[in-house]
């Protein structure tokens, strides 16, 4: 079976903490997800997302704190939201499926959401197939 490669940019305060909690709770999710911990979802540069695609990633997940009030840095999550929104639109114009990028708000307690999201995302990408066909 085709195993997609997925980079997950996880914000240090919420999504990465949720991933830690998932570990502590021994909640299993696919190994396709390679985590990269960032200070804030607002630090995730679209350039880095595209770099992931250029280097063989088939999907990119960005996990941040819930809007409107959970961001450790007040509004980094909104910055991420706005950027990803345009980026997806831009990707579409280039003929690349915008579904290959997924932005999710995952609080430090939502280990189960993290698991659900990652499983679901792997399935989505599996259906889309490899980016470079």
């Amino acid at each position: 079976m085709y195993e997609p490669k997925i980079i997950a940019f996880l914000c240090r305060w919420c999504a990465s903490a949720a991933a830690d909690l998932a570990g502590v709770s021994r909640l299993s999710y696919p190994a396709n997800i390679i985590p990269i911990v960032v200070p804030c979802s607002g630090r995730v540069d679209p350039r880095a997302i595209i770099e992931a695609f250029l280097n063989g990633a088939d999907g990119v997940l960005i996990g941040g704190c819930h809007t409107p009030n959970d961001c450790h840095y007040i509004s980094g999550n909104f910055k991420a939201f706005k950027r990803i929104h345009i980026l997806k639109k831009l990707l579409k114009q280039f003929g690349i499926e915008p579904e290959r990028i997924r932005l999710e708000w995952i609080s430090a307690t939502e280990a189960t959401k993290l698991v659900q999201v990652t499983k679901d995302f792997v399935e989505t990408i599996r259906k889309l197939g490899p980016l470079a066909r």
Binding site: S75, F81, K82, H85, I86, F94, A132
Partner: protein, 329 residues
Amino acid sequence: MSSNKPKLAIVYGSVCGGCDVSLVNVGEPLADLLTNYDVIYWSIALDGKLHTLEKLERIDVAIYMGPIRTELNMKLAKLIREKADLVVAYGTCAVYGGIPGLGALIKPSTLVETMKSTVTTTPGSEKVVKSMEKEGLKIPPLTNQCLPLSVVVEPDVLVPGCPPAVENVEKLIDILKKYLRGEKPVKGLMLAEPRSLCEECPRRPKDMSKLVIPNIYRLHEAVPKEDKCFLEQGILCLGPITRAGCGHRCIKANMPCAGCMGPVQRVDDVGLKFLSSLASALLADKEKELGEEGLAKLLDKIVDPQGLFYRYTLPTSYLTKLVLKRLRK
């Protein structure tokens, strides 16, 4: 007609002619320069033919204008890099691909279909060409993409601008004069400022407080004011990411910058960078109030991000590379 003067060739990709005119427009300094060079090829002004160029073993300076769209363009680009000591990428098309670069990712077959389907084109054209003449009438086929010179070969000097501003053309002429004395510029010299248009924008406010984009208006939705930052009026302007050095001519005409000078020094992909800047500054003070839905609605007013960000630089985008990589596989 051999001469001891250094040889200069001005060579075209799929040009629009604007670069030629911009060169002619500098007037005396150009006339002055041309007397010091032996101009062997410049098809708009002189009668040198392709075979003359091909026969030469060495050219001193070659100026390339226009994007590479056909195999002939490609051949000439490689030819001048091979023969010329100093290669100048002249104009935005040669440096970044320019507006024709917007067609970089369109399949030639699509282009054919479009041509066939314009409202005035007669379907099923007759043939007047006899089959035996076909061989001699072959046109150079299109390249798969539309590329700037700078992607195909490594130019020595780059002069962005659509077309280059007179001041920068004068700088180039200076460089070519110095070259006569044996001074060669640093490789990859970009005749533009490293920083953005904002630095020299006449609309820079006295009060240097935050720049918030209050909304997004298209040009049919708002009449731009003549003295206020376009972005602060909600009119999308590429000034913050575009190299200065153009004399902010569009701003003077009360039109927002469209980015013809290409991105500032450290940015290699206008779209990926500027979308972040734009998104960040858009309603930065009302994010919580509007929420995701409200913000998304406003962001959707950017109807053509590709055409906005990459109007002049599409072939150099990482997204273009990504698409091509995907197609190659």
